[in-house]
Amino acid sequence: MFWYLLLLWGGISAVEVQRPRGVPLSKRPFYEENKPFTCLDGSRTIPFDRINDDYCDCQDGSDEPGTAACPNGNFHCTNAGFRPTFIPSSHVNDGICDCCDATDEYNSGAECQNTCRELWRKEKESMQKLAEIAKEGFLLKQQLIQEAKRGLEEKQTKLGEVQNSKKDLETNVEALRTAKEAAEQPEKEAKERHLKAWEEQNAAIRMEKDKVRMAEVFIELDADGDGFVSVAELLSHSEMDPDSSDGSFTEAEAQELLGGVDKVNTAAFETIWSKIREKYVSESNTDGPAPVETPQEEVREPVSDNDSEPYPDDDIPEEEDEDEDEDEDEDMDDGDYKSPPVTRTDEKKDDSEEGAMPPYDQETQNLIDAAQKARNEFEEAERALREVDDQIRNLEKEISFDFGPSSEFAYLYSQCYELTTGEYVYRLCPFNRVSQKPKYGGSETNLGTWGKWAGPEGNVYSVMKYEQGTGCWQGPNRSTTVKLTCGKETVVTSTSEPSRCEYLMEFTSPAVCQEAPDLEVSDIHEEL
């Protein structure tokens, strides 16, 4: 029949082994000339002339190794001079050169050149290059391993040392804590004594002042200078109306204020002084430009923290509470070490005339200084202990870090490598993070922090994964996959963003280099 294709016997080299087109040498025994052929899956047996007759008889495609007739077949390119390979049957005679020996395009009109030797030459070159790199890289890797080993030992030694020193430090901290507490007790007592004395002194001063004022007020109130304050005289001071809300200060009320009598002398005034002390507004103040002048109505408003008046408004005390809390916080923060201590600001405001607390006496001051010294020493020791703890933690982390089977990646720890592209500077800090920064200003974006080794099984240390970087709008958090390949240098060779916010970085390092394979790559054959 017209479309029947004659069997073409394969091989282009001098040493030919006859077999149907597209069959590898290893399978030649299954295709025995002029004997019925059994499909390789055993499904049926067909006459030999149906092999490569451009019609698919076997379900597994084994009867058409050299044509495109079967959808699931494979064509074997001998590729003399290069590496033999299988291509899908669909690539046979599709007008595209797939086999370097051009054997796949025997009936398509495609003009294919035999490129096997050229390919082999190129591949050999690049393999040689790679092998050289691998060789040198592998040597470097050995150094890295040694260094890592040394580094590890050093770190372990260091860790031991530090752990030992930690014990001393702990003891020291405990001792200093006791010393501090011992010094603080007398300090506290002395400060309290000092404070108490000062307060007593203040009270005496206040009382004295009050007496003076009482006398002044008596004289002011005693308008007629008869040595008595009378109901009438009292009435001129409406601010003393006990129930100010009704707006009228009656004689009865005034009388009650005076203790039920019409007038009082100086001595009797003393008993009512406490009742009117807070309300009384000096006449000289009412029209004088006194700085505290306020309309009478507003006097009631809380003007200072310790105003004895009950607050008319519920809200204000709350705010007040907060303020007080803050004040207390501040006091706690800075009160301890200040010498002399500052009294509460409100007291200070009220008793401004009394002035600041006098300096501590020498004895107290000595106690305070001693306590402060003990505190400082204790803190210093504590800080040192914390530092040692950090050091231990870091060392332990580094020691326990998975730096590869022989710790060959340890040298990357706490290093960073940069690559500058058209727009960005990419920065890889192995085992830490990956970031991207616009070349011409702008803030850095975190492309992921160290996640894990993520290479395929058997080659786990070929890929690093950095995860949970800055979030993407409506997308995932940025992440970066770092592919490691063998190289003499440790460099980032490329970056890309194959998918939005998923970055890919290529990174070379000697630590990935494998023992150089024996050259003369085994699966490339020169001849059949």
């Binding site: 029949m1 008889d57 690539h91």
Partner: protein, 928 residues
């Protein structure tokens, strides 16, 4: 950059995964729609002035008068060849010309003489020539009824909703809404109109605002509206593009269906909102007849549908029937457009296929695409650089998956300047294209119509200096924000602009382009990020017309100019391929469309079926949805199911948003890779059938992907089916579109039919609901008994690689043990088929003889392809099979070849081995 960022953010942040409805107008927010919809059915104020009637050989004209305002209209009535009637209504004396849509009709439709059958003072009866069809023109109130015998097929203005806002001078020139005082002066000065009902100046007539956008409306109100009643009709279809069911719903309780090309961000499903394209064509169907209404108007249009049976339950209908009290079911539709004239083509069928040919005679047929474009398309926003393209291309070979096109979205350009390449990422586009060409593959690069305003950009400078930009209302170049930032919009309505644009695709102008580079027009609604409803201001100016008048045409013109560019660059030899997002009636002539920016959701997969079916009904066959879904990320299951569905839809392209993870077919594990590979390969085996169907679509206008009712018009069970579809008439596809499906129930239509599962060859009777258990590899597809489908089972890297491969004929026998089919072959990519360079054969099987005869003896083409196998489904075992081939048929001593065959009795499948005749020759094969 700030404004664009704000707009972009506003667009993006508005609702996580749903359209922001507030960005788009409801009928109430579109003043003309609100105004017109406020009119309720009643007696029409229009009266036909019979004394003005003039009848010439080609048309009848008469004047209509609105008794309320005395404004006169001119009615033109044409009887068109092919059983169509054209009704045109315009103002008799408009203040200035009103827009009549050009360039959509392929020619001035040829007419046939009308004759007056009878006439009195109440009206005129005209004969439509065909059978007993007549048009009755009633004078008062004016209405038109098209009748056949005693049946009314369609009535116009029977509900009195004809409304024609005549052009008028603005009365409130100070823009004061209260201009009532001037009313008197106006009426006085118009002597004739003393009794005229006072024209109310309503809000929105002379200016309207939407959100922050103001429409200056210098021409004032200009809307047109008309109602159509369809007695006996319960099913209406068409008026795409809407993300809705195949069968249109009534709109009484919501907004009308809207036709206004818009870039809708994250569109919602199952509603009448406008989308990217608009085809103002509606089909009405019942068991007796199919009719069609083509409302030729390119302005914003709303379509109301109501039905007297809508809402009635099946029981209610049955009760009506039993009680004999049923009123005839009727569907009423009403069209409202913002400007232009009324120009309606009434297509009278009577069969669905008659409608397709009638509509095709008006607006043309689907362009015949290059064969390669029917293969698989791999797209994503974006393939990052040449290396990315190379590696994706290599991935297909590595996984032995065929594909024909890889696509580049906007990022391939130099700063969103179309016709350019990013100098770093795509530094040597020709090398890249050559690399693809070496594999017989192609590329599509995007070219959008918004042009970056940048004095260093050649395209911009040329358009500006030639005055080709659309103008704003003040006469300057209209500018809006789009991908490149500030952009101008070329005025594609101008023929010289289109010619210039086309010339930009020549190889010397479009640097880096080659003959395997094709084009994608996106954003051509046009999309204007900061415009009203994300599109152009209606008062922008195209020559002497407002954007308002031409809006829905803009995308068609962009598509057309681009397509013409691709044809011209090859000297008219090569067929173009251009994909568009916006479209209008007639867009089928220019290439493919897709359903825009869908989402990776199961419902979006489902809606792809009715959306493409609706487009097919109105002539646009080359339709597809983004496989996998554009927004969001599909689960592997959804992705596989989408490939399985998309492989059986006309335009088969995977696409994905920039922010989604990569999803090339091999990224979801070996099992899913195998599933996707299998279905893409299935697509390729059917390419001869797809190609032949597109050839038919090109010749006849029949849809490639078909609603079931098109082939089974008398079976009401098919009328609302939109979860399955036909490809041509011979393949029935019921894709799995449910998550976790264990089975699907497919309706197999046709009492007389048998259907063969294309995978198992199992035979099923028609007119049944068939439950089909499914696994992830299942794609329920059936071949109709009585058909012959040519396939190529040797799937290769790309369609071009399969050119010379042999065919397998799948012959599915019907109950009468006959079958027929076709085989169409040409070079696959040039226009030479127009010069009779093709093979077109009819294959038929009867009396146990399968033959191939030439149905185009005048055509000349040779092919290397041969017939490698014939598979007969539903066969019995013959004693022997013989073949007589070519030329030898005529000679007495024709050698007879005996052919080998296999018979599988379990499924009654006969496989005839290697008959080997050339696909182009005559032959005959006998089963004995």
């Amino acid at each position: 950059m700030v404004p664009v960022l704000v707009v972009w953010l506003a667009l993006c942040l508005s609702g996580t995964w749903a359209v922001d409805r507030s960005n788009f107008k409801t009928c109430d927010q579109s003043s003309f729609c609100k105004r017109q919809r406020a009119l309720k059915p009643g007696e029409s104020p229009y009266r036909a002035l019979l004394e003005t009637m003039e009848l010439t050989n080609t048309r009848l004209t008469l004047q209509l008068i609105n008794d309320n305002n005395k404004v006169r209209l001119l009615l033109e009535l044409y009887r068109l060849q092919g059983n169509m009637t054209r009704v045109k209504i315009n103002e008799l004396k408009p203040l200035k010309p009103r827009y009549e849509v050009p360039d959509v009709l392929v020619r001035e439709p040829p007419t046939e003489p009308l004759s007056v059958l009878s006439q009195d003072e109440n009206g005129v009866v005209l004969s439509l020539g065909v059978e007993s069809q007549r048009v009755i023109v009633s004078a008062q109130p004016f209405r038109l009824d098209i009748v056949e015998g005693h049946n009314v097929l369609m009535s116009l203005n029977s509900r009195g909703l004809l409304a024609f806002e005549h052009l008028r001078m603005r009365k409130d020139t100070q823009a004061e809404p209260e201009a009532e005082n001037k009313e008197e002066a106006d009426t006085a000065h118009q002597a004739e109109t003393t009794k005229e009902e006072e024209e109310k100046v309503e809000e929105g007539m002379w200016e309207e605002t939407f959100k922050s956008h103001s429409d200056s409306k210098p021409n004032g109100p200009s809307a047109v509206s008309l109602d159509f009643s369809l007695p006996g009709v319960e099913h209406v279809y068409g008026i795409p593009e809407h993300a809705d069911t195949l069968r249109l719903k009534t709109t009484d309780n919501g907004d009308p269906y809207r036709l206004y090309n818009l870039d809708v961000f994250q569109y919602e499903l199952y509603n009448p909102m406008a989308l990217y394209g608009a085809v103002p064509v509606m089909l009405a169907h019942n068991t007796q007849r199919t009719t069609g209404i083509f409302w030729l108007n390119a302005a914003e249009t709303w379509v109301d549908i109501s039905s007297n049976t809508a809402g009635k339950t099946v029981f209610g209908k049955m009760l009506d029937y039993v009680q004999g009290s049923s009123e005839t079911p009727q569907t009423d539709v009403r069209w409202i457009s913002e400007s232009g004239i009324i120009d309606v083509f009434i297509m009278l069928g009577p069969t669905p296929k008659d409608i397709f040919s009638q509509y095709a005679s008006l607006t043309g047929t689907q362009s015949f695409p290059p064969l390669s474009s029917l293969g698989y398309h791999q797209c994503r926003w974006n393939y990052n650089d040449q290396e990315d393209v190379r590696s994706v291309d290599a991935g297909f070979d590595e996984h032995d998956i065929p594909y024909d096109f890889i696509w580049l979205d906007i990022e391939h350009t130099d700063g969103k300047r179309y016709f350019t390449w990013d100098p770093h990422k795509f530094a040597s586009p020709k090398d890249m294209l050559q690399g693809l060409k070496d594999k017989k593959r192609n590329m599509v690069a995007i070219v959008d119509p918004h042009i970056k305003v940048d004095s260093n950009y050649k395209i911009h400078n040329e358009i500006r200096s030639r005055g080709f930009y659309v103008k704003n209302k003040d006469g300057g170049d209209y500018e809006g924000w789009c991908w490149p930032g500030n952009a101008g919009y070329p005025d594609f309505t101008q023929p010289d602009m289109r010619a210039w644009w086309a010339s930009m695709f020549s190889y010397d102008q479009y640097e880096g382009s080659m003959d395997n580079l094709y084009t994608w027009n996106d954003m051509n609604e046009p999309s204007v990020f900061n415009g009203p409803e994300v599109t152009m201001h209606k008062d922008a100016v195209h020559g002497s017309w407002e954007h308002r008048d031409v809006h829905n045409l803009y995308g068609l013109y962009v598509h057309r100019a681009t397509m013409e560019g691709l044809i011209q660059r090859s000297g008219g030899v090569e067929r173009p391929f251009v994909l568009t997002r916006a479209f209008f009636a007639g867009s089928q002539r220019y290439g493919a469309v897709w359903t825009g920016d869908n989402a990776a959701e199961w419902d979006h997969l489902k809606i792809s079926i009715p959306m493409c079916l609706s487009l097919g009904l109105v002539g646009i066959s080359f339709c597809g949805a983004d496989v996998g879904g554009f927004f969001k990320s599909p689960s592997p299951e959804l992705l596989v199911r989408w490939y399985q569905t998309g492989a059986y839809q006309p335009f088969f392209r995977a696409h994905a948003h920039l922010d989604t993870p990569r999803r090339e077919p091999w990224l979801f594990g070996p099992e899913n890779t195998a599933l996707i590979r299998e279905v893409i390969r299935q697509r390729y085996t059917f390419l001869p059938y797809w190609y032949q169907l597109f050839y038919h679509a090109y010749r006849t206008g029949e849809p490639v992907m078909r609603a079931l009712w098109v082939e089974y018009p008398q079976d009401p069970a098919t009328f609302a089916v939109d979860d399955e579809f036909l490809i041509g008439r011979d393949l029935l596809v019921h894709p799995v579109t449910e998550e976790g499906a264990r089975g699907v129930t497919a309706f197999l239509p046709g009492k007389e039919e048998v259907w063969f599962d294309i995978h198992t060859f199992q035979k099923h009777n028609g007119a049944q609901n068939l439950y089909i258990p499914v696994t992830m590899s299942s794609i329920p597809v059936f071949q109709r008994g009585g058909s012959i489908i040519p396939r190529k089972l040797r799937v290769r890297r790309s369609s071009a690689c399969m050119e010379h491969d042999p065919y397998t004929l799948f012959v599915a026998l019907n109950t009468r043990r006959t079958a027929e089919g076709e085989l169409y072959i040409d070079d696959g990519h040039t226009f030479n088929f127009d010069n009779k360079e093709f093979i077109h054969r009819r294959l038929f099987f009867s009396n146990n003889v399968l033959s191939s005869v030439n149905v185009a003896p005048e055509a000349q083409f040779t092919t290397k392809s041969w017939i490698e196998r014939v598979v007969i489904l539903g066969a019995s075992k013959p004693r022997k099979v013989t073949l007589i081939t070519a030329g030898k048929l005529k000679t007495a001593e024709a050698p007879v070849f005996r052919l080998d065959f296999d018979f599988d009795a379990s499924v009654s499948v006969l496989t005839i081995r290697k008959p080997s005749m050339n696909a182009g020759e005559d032959w005959s094969m006998a089963l004995q």
